[in-house]
Amino acid sequence: MLSNIFSSANISASGMSAERQRMEVIANNIANANSTQSSEGGPYRRQQLIFAAALDNSAASNSTGFRGVEVVGQVADDSELPEVYIPGHEHADPVTGMVTMPNVQIPNEMVDLITASRSYEANLKAMTTFKEMVEQTLRLLRGGV
């Protein structure tokens, strides 16, 4: 029952958590924008999170058994890796002098970062509003509005 009363807060928290994870992945992408070697071999590939709406297992699809959002996976961006001419670089092709660079594009990452940050704020606002609503209700118990 208690978990039901405060489930609004849990929904907003799941949104905040998902957006924060997305920010971490974006920060990691930006930090590795020039990493020409990764643990999988080859240059770093841009990482992306996959979000999915979460529902209670028992709840019907058209009821309010909401659990917010959840991160269901992290995938690498398989788009083409750009090549840059840097002869003498440790990972350069000995013949052509070309280095394969990560497919991270800073402008795209910055746009994603702003979206994530704004979405985080929206969830935070929903949480604050819920807190005010609960406080308002509890004031009834103290005998005065």
Binding site: S63, A126, M133
Partner: protein, 111 residues
């Protein structure tokens, strides 16, 4: 006396509706960046019939007439924000009304 009880019952239903509405709005906001997610809203008819409803049994339906983004998501943050603000004001009004009713009862008891 029966009038007083039914009044608090109406307030109770409306409060429950408003708090469920907040959950739906929170869910929409949490899924602002979920591909393919469609905005939901509560069926307004439940405002009147909410009496015997258990908390989890409120029904929702997809919001119509929203512009879908390329990833199949149609949550409009501005609409959700204004809905949330309006719902918050409704909730505040209802709690104040309920508070006033409690005060009246107190006055009647104390004399």
């Amino acid at each position: 006396m029966s009038i007083q009880i039914s009044q608090s019952q109406v307030l109770r239903n409306a409060l429950e509706f408003a708090s469920q509405n907040h959950r739906v709005i929170s869910q929409n906001m949490a899924n602002l960046n979920t591909p393919g997610y469609q905005s939901l809203e509560l069926l307004a008819e439940q405002l009147a019939t909410g009496a015997s409803q258990h908390l989890a049994e409120f029904q929702t339906k997809p919001v119509e007439g929203l512009q879908e983004r390329p990833n199949g998501n149609n949550v409009d943050l501005d609409t959700e924000m204004s809905n949330m603000r309006r719902n918050d004001l409704v909730y505040q009004t209802l709690t104040q009304l309920l508070g006033a009713k409690v005060d009246m009862l107190k006055t009647a008891i104390k004399g």
